[in-house]
Symmetry: C2
Subunit: 116 residues, 2 copies
DNA sequence: ATTGAACGGTACGGTTCCGAAACGATCGGA
DNA sequence: TCCGATCGTTTCGGAACCGTACCGTTCAAT
């Protein structure tokens, strides 16, 4: 059961969610930050800096900086991998889970009110 | 006929499109820029700087700068309103229409492959 | 003709991000 | 015990963006 969207619906959905996010000015995450955040929350762990960089096709410092920013926002947390202390494991937080959940609700609400 | 999405589907959709955009690094628009672009392309004209700022709940310089950036990318164009020369009208461009169309296709493709 | 309001743009100092390169810490095999 | 490879982080100069405040133009009403 795939989700079928027509072009006008797809773009309208994206507009509604974007405008709502800008108006709410909750966190003002960049597209890269959002991609990292959702990957951590949706893809199965563990998540390393290098793994995330490879997944998104960006350099390591990009991921490090995004983790700095979102870490300060308490959306994610970092922990040393005790098995291999070179690695840093990125984990979810309670605040982050709440933020992601609400963001998903926003998408659903925007989709529900979409004209056919 | 509204579009029904479940939470996991909504978030997965956003992740797929975000990751694809980051990987493609086509234009790297911020959330604000995307909201402005889609509003110009989806809402009925005319679009003024002040009107867009009010629509998104941001200040004028934010819109001006976004128009500078996306104007340089040829995604939008500015024109003086000849009826009231204080106004600047924001208009679509061929390149912008193409970009928006492809972006919509990306959303549709991501939605179509969504697990139930 | 003058004045006040409305419009978009600009100047400013500060913050954040960028990519490339170098760095220290850690691991694993010779 | 080295020593190369693999981590994540930091540094660097440069670019983009932020919000506040101010500026020049244009309109409309007096």
């Amino acid at each position: 059961m795939s989700v079928i969207l027509r072009p006008s619906q797809a773009l309208r959905l994206w507009q509604r969610v974007s405008v709502a996010e800008v108006r709410a000015e909750a966190h003002d995450l960049s597209l890269r930050q959002m991609a990292i955040l959702l990957t951590v929350y949706l893809d199965p762990p563990p998540h390393t800096v290098r793994g995330l960089a490879a997944r998104l096709g960006v350099t390591k410092p990009v991921v490090t900086r995004a983790l700095d920013t979102m870490g300060a926002m308490k959306l994610l947390s970092r922990h040393r991998d005790e098995k291999d202390r070179r690695n840093v494991l990125v984990r979810r937080t309670v605040e982050g889970a709440l933020y992601v959940e609400r963001f998903g609700d926003g998408i659903i609400a925007a989709a529900a009110g979409l004209p056919m």
